[in-house]
Amino acid sequence: MCLSWIFKLPKSKAMVMKIITLFTLLSLIITTAGFTSQPDTISGVVLDSESGEPVPGAHVYYPGHQNGTVTGPDGFFEISVRNGVNTLAISHIGYRDSFLDISDTGYHSSLTIKLHPLQVQSDDIIITAGRMQMNYSGIYSNSKTRAVEDHMASISGLDMVTRANFAKDPVIRGLRDGRVNVLIDGMRLTPACVDGMDPATAYVEADNLKSIEISRGQEAYPLASTAPGGAVNFAMAQPRLNTGFTGNLETGYHSVSEQQMGQAAFAHGGENLAFRISGTYRKAGDLRTGDGTRIVDSGLEKGNIFSSVLYRPTENHQFNLRYIGDFAGKIGYPMLLMDTRRADAHIAGLKHTWTNPSNRINSITSNLYINRVEHWMDDYSRDVTQRDVMKNMYMPMYGETLTAGLTSELNASKNSHFLNLKIELFSIDAFADMLMEHVNPEIRDMYLVNLGDVRQRNTSISAAYQYFAGNGWLLGGNVQAEAGTNQLSERSAVNTFRAEYPGLENLEPTDVVYSIGLSAEKEITDRFQAGVRISDGYRLPSHMERYGYYVYQPLDGFFYHGNPGLKTERSSQAELFVTFGNDRSLLSGNTSFWVNRMDNYIAGNRFDELFKRYKNMGVAVLTGFETDVTVQITGRWTGSASASYVLGQHRELEEPLPMIPPLKGTLLIQRQSDTVSVESRFRWAASQNRIAGQNSLETRTKGYALWDLFASTRITQNLILQTGFENLLNTFYTDHLSVNSMPGAGRNIYVSLRISL
């Protein structure tokens, strides 16, 4: 089993190889002249034979010999020559092993090795978590009409907050919101709804995606940030060159919510210009739960357009312009006070990749982006005379955000040293307000501002370093520094915060934070690796934590006020991980144990019966584990099991942290082939009795087990039919991270048909 980082970089080219050859010849001359005593090495790059993209984390070794190396994030490797050994082996999960005869290459050092994928799955959405490509990518990983959340449903360590039958907030190791970075193709997006009804997953469709990359905790790769929970990056699909005209159509139906989905895409790949344009539409009615009831007003309707243009003027330069437009109509949130009336998002970015700008520098990638989100919600369809909170009051609310940024990243390597440097600048502008209209027309409307023209500007630089030290050791270190400024401009918001915090002089602080990490891994045998990672860092409070005003939290029934005076929050983490097996063994998998001690933990502090204010509230500790095991039963049959657990405790409040997922996992058996694939999956969760009973309205949830069955049939070369029964036994269940205990979906029969043109 290999260690892998997932960095997608364009392939190298002949010119670069010539430079490498020149350099190697030069060093050869120097060596023979006796100026240095470096060992002889073979180096090269490993690429995917289908896509031409580099394959990071491929194992490069001499068969029969234990030592070897692993390709870096850009696919490059360097290995010392072994006298008398003529064969070099390269292997990686998902590809056929490759063996190279190097007997007459001598000190030839510009190898380009192409690995052939085991299946034609170039359309599949690949999930990677941490530095592992998850063994489970799901039988519907190439379905473009499934909601994005469905692709993330069974990843250990990743959970999702459910507020409706739509758009779930990722939770990594028990942390979410301002503690987890959610990116769309490396671009930050700021949700506009103060009630959390529009996480970034609301604006992305499976059709837009190539892969979902997840970092758990303060990892350096692949998504370094100061977020203590980690990060989720929805990497967008790129159009391919040299493919001519292609297209596909997919239509699907889910019985449990009478949801119809349609997706169509059209693409053209020329020699150096390619584009892809696609659209997705979905419309759903009320969701039926396991006890047969329909959750009234839980339907939704939305459309999504995605266009991407790829331009490669020379072999070294690539430009990728992409745009996502997402337009949602009414989305029902029956467990919350309001429904979304309309939500629009425009996400645009230009990415430039410069391959091999110089010797040792493998790539420089820059990403310039801007996105805008607008969100309208109201409770006009509700009976406000009967509810407890805001009784007799309609409260239409509006929110908008503008996020813009520039990221630039450099990847360099020399021998067994890999360096990644990144600089990032971004700004967030946010505004939100609400109107309170009493049912009695004689009572005057009330108006307040929830986010008063808040602006945050951040700059960060980070460096991550890895070194294959020999004897199977891999050492790593990373450091990051981030500075953030804050501004509050709207007049009544400024007056409000001055009135709420009369002792606070500066409402617009500037903060600087850092995070550092160290890791060490050892390849103990070729089937067993273990490692440890420690990290420590601070994060900046989010704009909601600082400047949100009068924001209702259904979890505890309080209205929250922000606190401009918040101090930065600290997280110190340690992780022990073990990887076993490799792509040739029967059993493979990984396990991680982790601890996270947080200080100055930002949470809501009770102010009176109605209000809480964000405050730094001492120490909170979380700990847990994830484990994934895959069994290669036969060539076609695979079994896998995963489980994860989080324990969270707030020391200062002397009670468990709220919204912590219980012990849960997945068990599945899969048969994959080119024509028919089937999967039987169990999703299970234990009951959660550790609740924040004193300071919130959290309730216990019972454990559950769900059984899903899927089948995917390639009817013809161009026609794939997917069918499935989810929650086949129609179990009534509630996930613990479901706000106000919205029950999960009952039995769902789904069908989708995909035509490739």
């Binding site: 805001m390 007799n392 009051m393 309170m436 009493h438 009572i443 005057r444 409307d445 009330m446 108006y447 307040l448 501002v449 009544s492 400024v494 007056n495 409000t496 001055r498 009135a499 709420e500 009369p502 005003y549 009068y550 102010f607 009176d608 109605l610 209000f611």
Partner: protein, 268 residues
């Protein structure tokens, strides 16, 4: 010696001198000439050669009102007059005054006029009519007496109440005049009705204050209950965290005696 030429010359000289002194007198008089203030004129009267004009910043209403005065003789301001003043309401069966202050002869910074204030406890109308009664002494011995009839609009800024032992009080809500979201200065005044015409300030009351939004069922935080700052005026702070319907709730205690719970309503 007093020949024609000399007489003409001296005449000219005298004329020049006279003109010079007259001019200087004229200049002095120019600086005492009044100009039309940029305020709402309430009325005027003239008595014994002295004219008294009354102005206000806005139409008078129930509550605390600043009144500006100009006193002049034929356009020339009278310096340092002394005043006597009473606002009186004439009702069908009787007349009564209300809390007021007497102008002290100083001129205010903003409008450069003599100034005072009155708290009108009722509106003009069917119940009666209001008058401002003045007695102004310019130069010693020269007194102008007169009245200016005024119109007072209704408002909810005054509460008159009677305690169990039949003591009557006037509670006036003065600030904020124009409420805004955020922290506002809060000012109230408390006067006691000693007689029909005597309303002395109450200087040792203790206020407990809470703003409240009845439709939202909550108040706000960081409010400061009004504390006495002189002459029956109490100052504090009120925090409005949103626009809408608000109640200003006051509990008053005077020397251990409970003066009751009083609520002013506002919406903005």
């Amino acid at each position: 010696m007093f020949n024609k030429k000399f007489r003409r010359l001296s005449g000219l000289l005298i004329a020049i001198l006279f003109a010079a002194t007259a001019c200087s007198d004229f200049n002095n008089n120019n600086s005492d000439l009044i100009s039309e203030p940029d305020l709402l004129k309430l009325g005027e009267f003239t008595d014994n050669g002295i004219t008294v004009e009354a102005y206000a910043e806005a139409p008078l209403a129930v509550g605390y009102n600043k009144i500006y005065l100009e006193v002049h003789e034929a356009g020339v301001r009278v310096d340092q007059p002394s005043f006597d003043f009473t606002p009186m309401m004439h009702m069908e069966n009787h007349s009564h005054a209300s809390p007021y202050d007497i102008p002290d002869g100083s001129r205010d910074d903003v409008h450069d006029l003599y100034h005072t204030w009155a708290i009108f406890t009722m509106p003009s109308g069917m119940m009666g009519r209001w008058e401002l009664q003045f007695s102004v002494e310019g130069q010693p011995g020269i007194v102008a007496d007169g009245i200016i009839s005024i119109d007072v609009e209704d408002s909810n800024r005054v509460k008159t109440f009677m305690t169990d032992d039949e003591q009557r009080y006037v509670l006036t809500w003065i600030e904020p005049a124009e409420p805004e979201v955020g922290m506002n200065d809060l000012a109230v005044a408390l006067h006691k009705r000693e007689s029909m015409i005597s309303f002395p300030p109450v200087t040792d009351a203790v206020f407990e204050f809470e703003p409240w939004m009845p439709s939202m069922d909550h108040g706000s935080s960081n409010n400061v209950s009004p504390a006495h700052e002189g002459n029956g005026f109490y100052h504090g702070q009120v925090n409005f965290n949103m626009t809408g319907d608000w109640e200003l709730r006051f509990d008053i205690v005077l020397n251990g005696e409970d003066l009751g719970h009083h609520v002013f309503e506002l919406d903005f």
